[in-house]
């Protein structure tokens, strides 16, 4: 039954939910399979056609292109070149030509390195790969020249099995990438906003042409788009809800853009009757939303479940916040004894439950995690808060004054400790210096970005890379250098040929069996 369920859900996923991916993978498989060298050649044309179809399917169906820009064009040129050259490398019979296609792959990849702000790497890769490694390969090819056709070049080992394995692997990889980095809801909101933007742009064009749009058109455009923006904003806030309550002004780019757009629409709605609606204001606001959303389409991780200990802490942090609010109300108001006992005992119960859960989590932790200062701090804060609450509960029952302020500060400490402990499973922040850029423990929304939404990188890329390498990665660099040295020595030792003794007449006499040959 379980197996049947598993199979049916798997088949549904492959053939219904992810049909573009499956299609692309199958066509690609077909292409490589047809093109692989074999003693009796299969029709080349079909293979090439299938390859192009597969590439097209990937570009159009699997990762739909964003609006083309110069950067995008360069990317697509480089990517298609790299993939085609890679296919050529795999299917090419002649090893020398294969080496040259690999050079092409390297060059295309280097193009993409430049796009990703890695000029130093581009240069290094070209020099090392294209300049040194490929040339060495060609030298070896020349040394080890073989006749044509050879078993080595004209045959493939298990073409179908290997290709199928490779494409299942590729399909799985693509599935993981697309499900991790593509978000349908955000995409639909973005589409709505884009449509709204287009409608407003038509109105703007009308205005520029001198025809002032009718009042109903304006009214409809503003109201419809405002509804869209509001829905978008609500959904976005839902996604980013935190226990500490919403800050008045969002900190992330998309949130800010939405907030600004809401304000713009409010302003223009007020202007509706007065006939000086600034459509350009609205257009700019919507454009800002679109830009921010497009950034997020590449960065959002919607379905990553909060797993492990940090995920488990989240509801408890919220409950501590509630408790703090309750205590604050008790402190500020004039509660009866009954109210005070009730509130305190409720808080104590919350803390008790929290401590139980936390102790369970601590026991399940590995030794290093258990002794982390963050973990210990939360345990201590919990114990302290509970002790004080027990004390104060007795006082409240005895109708004595209760130190609400101390309780509040204890709870605050618990909350802070929990928030910190929640982050203990992230990478350590103090591992690398600032030279290597922002630490990996930062969430994507916390990274400093430019106006296009891209994270800041140091301007002097190569210089900073060098500092990072010789600062944070010094040991690794030294080890890499040692590795290179050892490899060089090893290569010489392996390829070293013992000088064979010449067959002198004396040798031949001594060894008539002719072993010297």
């Amino acid at each position: 039954m379980f197996l049947l369920n598993f199979l049916s859900s798997g088949l549904k996923l492959v053939f219904v939910d992810q049909w573009p991916l499956t299609l692309a993978a199958v066509v690609g498989l077909l292409a490589i399979y047809l093109l692989l060298p074999r003693p009796r050649r299969l029709p080349l044309v079909w293979g090439i056609a299938a390859g192009i179809a597969a590439l097209f399917a990937v570009v159009v169906l699997v990762i739909p292109p964003t609006r083309l820009s110069v950067e995008g064009v360069i990317f697509y040129v480089c990517a298609v070149t790299a993939i085609l050259a890679g296919g050529l490398l795999v299917t090419q019979r002649n090893p020398a030509r294969a080496a040259l296609s690999f050079a092409l792959v390297v060059l295309a990849t280097c193009g993409m390195f430049v796009l990703q702000a890695a000029p130093f790497l581009m240069a290094a890769t070209i020099i090392v790969y294209a300049g040194a490694i490929i040339v060495t390969f060609l030298f070896v090819l020349m040394l080890a020249q073989q006749e044509f056709p050879s078993d080595a070049d004209a045959r493939s080992r298990e073409p179908l099995l290997a290709t199928a394995t490779g494409f299942v692997l590729l399909g799985t990889l693509l599935y993981l990438i697309t499900t991790t980095y593509q978000h349908p809801t955000l995409q639909s909101h973005l589409d709505e906003v884009t449509a709204g933007l287009q409608s407003i742009q038509t109105l703007v064009q009308q205005q520029e042409l001198g025809q002032s749009p009718s009042q109903e058109d304006l009214d409809r455009a503003i109201k419809e788009n405002m509804a869209k923006v509001t829905a978008f904003e609500e959904w976005w806030k839902e996604q980013h809800k935190t226990s500490e309550g919403d800050p008045p002004i969002p900190t992330d780019p998309l949130g800010q853009a939405l907030y600004d757009a809401e304000g713009a629409f409010e302003r223009q709605k007020a202007n509706l009757g007065r006939d000086d609606v600034s459509l350009v204001d609205l257009e700019a606001a919507l454009d800002k939303i679109r830009a921010a959303a497009e950034i997020h389409l590449g960065t959002l991780r919607p379905h990553v479940a909060t797993s492990g200990e940090s995920g488990r802490l989240r509801p408890w942090i919220e409950s501590i916040c509630q408790a703090t609010t309750r205590i604050r109300k008790l402190r500020e108001g004039t509660p009866t004894t009954e109210d005070r006992v009730l509130g305190l005992s409720e808080t104590k119960k919350q803390l008790d439950d929290f401590q139980e859960v936390w102790q369970g989590s601590v026991q399940k932790m590995t030794e290093p995690n258990r002794t982390l200062p963050e973990t210990v701090r939360l345990s201590q804060a919990l114990t302290q808060a509970r002790t004080r609450l027990t004390e104060q509960l007795d006082r409240a029952r005895g109708d004595k004054p209760v130190e609400f302020k101390e309780i509040e500060s204890d709870l605050d400490q618990v909350r802070t400790a929990a928030v910190v402990a929640r982050g203990t499973l992230r990478p350590r922040t103090d591992f690398l210096s600032d030279l290597s850029g922002p630490p990996a423990s930062l969430m994507p929304g916390e990274i400093r970005r430019d106006e296009y939404g891209r994270p800041h990188l140091p301007a002097q890329n190569s210089a900073y890379l060098g500092r990072s390498l010789f600062g944070d990665y010094l040991l690794a660099v030294e080890m890499g250098g040692m590795l290179l040295l050892v490899a060089t020595v090893g290569a010489i030792a392996i390829a070293y040929r013992k000088p064979t003794p010449r067959a002198t007449p004396a040798n031949v006499m001594a060894d008539p069996a002719g072993r010297t040959a």
């Binding site: 080992r157 298990e158 099995l161 290997a162 394995t165 490779g166 692997l169 990889l173 993981l176 499900t179």
Partner: protein, 669 residues
Amino acid sequence: MSEVFSYLWLIPALPLLAATVTAFFGPRFLKHNSHWPCVASVALSALLSFAVFFAVRGTFHEGPPPLGERANTVFKTYYTWFEAGTPGTPDHLQVGLTLRADPLTAIMLITVTFIGLLIAIYSIGYMHDDPGYPRFFAAVALFITSMTLLVLGDNFLVLFAGWEGVGLCSYLLIGFWYSKPAAAAAARKAFLVTRIGDAGMLLGISLLWFKCGSLQYDAVFATLPALKAAQATEPWLLTAICLLLFCGAAGKSAQFPLHVWLPDAMEGPTPVSALIHAATMVTAGVYLVARCTPLFSAAPDAQLVVACIGGFTALLAALIALTQTDLKRVLAYSTLSQLGYMFLALGSAVALEDGAEQPLVILAVTAAIFHLHTHAFFKALLFLSAGSVMHAMGGVIDMRKFSGLKKVMPTTRWTFLCGAVALAGLPIFSGFWSKDEILAAAYEASHVSKPFGGVYIVLFLAGLITAGLTSFYTFRAYFMTFEGEEKIPHEAGHHAHESPPVMTVPLQILAFFALFIGLILGPTHLFGGFLEKTPDLPKTVEEGHNWILMLGSTLFALAGTGLAYYFYLLKPALPALLATRLQGLYQLSYNKFYIDDLYDFFIVKPLVGAADFTRIFDKVVVDSLVDVVGEMPPLVGALLRPLQNGLVQYYAVTMMIGLTMLLIALARS
């Protein structure tokens, strides 16, 4: 005198030390001197036993007795063997390595160590030149250890330990010549048959513990009133306990259903037959029942069973002995018969319903132990004499192959004759007095026992007939061996001669005791007077001998002797004629009433069949199942082996498939 009790533990410990020393150093260092540790330690033990014997006569209290004060008894606890249950609760069981000396123990000790000493000395000559010389003496010493532990033990578990120890030694010594198939088979048979009895005995001991909460004799006997009271609801209780204990006794003492091992045990060396299978070990059952007299006398049904089995065995074995031609086998059946006598006596110890005085009980138990004592001497003597004959005849023991040895072996002839008259119960010799007491006890029992009086009369008559048969087969053996024309088998060679002094001197000593110990101890009431001091035995009342009974038994004995004389000396052709005339009866007796064959047919054959069946089942079903399981890994291996084809690219594919699986698992989670 009483300081001797401080050395009580030495009696079993010394032979144990000797056994250890002989076992470890004998084959390598002692070699032909291996007898010294054994003889010396047994001699010391015998000395100590005599000291204990004399010390225990006095009235004294030594150490805190476990239950109240006891006269004539010493308890020495050396070591807590094990404990079970919570202290202070009824189910608490503490078993200590406790030794106990009282008159009954003292008599047994003397019997065991003194006869053991004489036999050990005799063995020096008899076992001379045997390659297993050290092994023999190690086993004998170990046997003395176990036997003394058996009689010294103060609770059923120590007794059981000694019991199993003597069983082990019996096994080792019957199978002493283990390369001989008959000896190995006999050893196995003895071990297995006695094990059946031991199982019952262990159950009996467990039942005792369950009901009495203790295994110590005194403690068990102290709960007797409670057990009697419990019989109101569980009427089977006491009878069951007694019968289970008797089961062990019957196995060890070779009584009727379990008697088949003893004749076969004659495959062992003759000194072993004398020591273990005539004088001491086989009487352990008698000792057990005598020790448990308070229990048995309270269970008349069990007593009846004991008496019946004893009487029946006595008669049956005597009948078989009539026709056996193997001298040692005649003696073995005679031993069975005499042990049956002892159990007949013990079974006659019927308690009177009223009154604290139980004259019959003490009479019967005294008779049994007295007979045990005298029998030990004269039967050991007979066996050793037979061994001497066997020694001289080059290992031949079939009476048809030799005769008229009185000139060749004068000393042996006289000692054998001494044993024969003692066994036959001719007047004034040992057997006369003890056998007479047994018959008297059975006769008394027929008066006393209300419901079973008739049965006891029959048993008494059987005993009387057995007495006649005994004297007949004894003198038959004597006449066939020593009288008549001289005939020596060729196996003996030209050097058929009297045995060396190291063998004949113990024979002469034993002969003296065999003749006169009955006269010394019996009519003077020395024995009864001493034994009655044993706690838990009722005190005796002076009673005269039943002269009519004595006359009757004398008549029977003399008749048997005369008949033997007539048959085997005056008319040597008559026995053969009689055998052909009474072919059926003769064959029945000659083939031991076909009991071995019955066992073979009804027990051994079905068991062998069942074993065959299980063996085939194991081979066909279990083995093939195991084989199937064993075939699985190679099968799976054969399926997977093509993967290992040496091509690096297949390995790469496998790695990639693994990676893909991992990714798919990641994607599904």
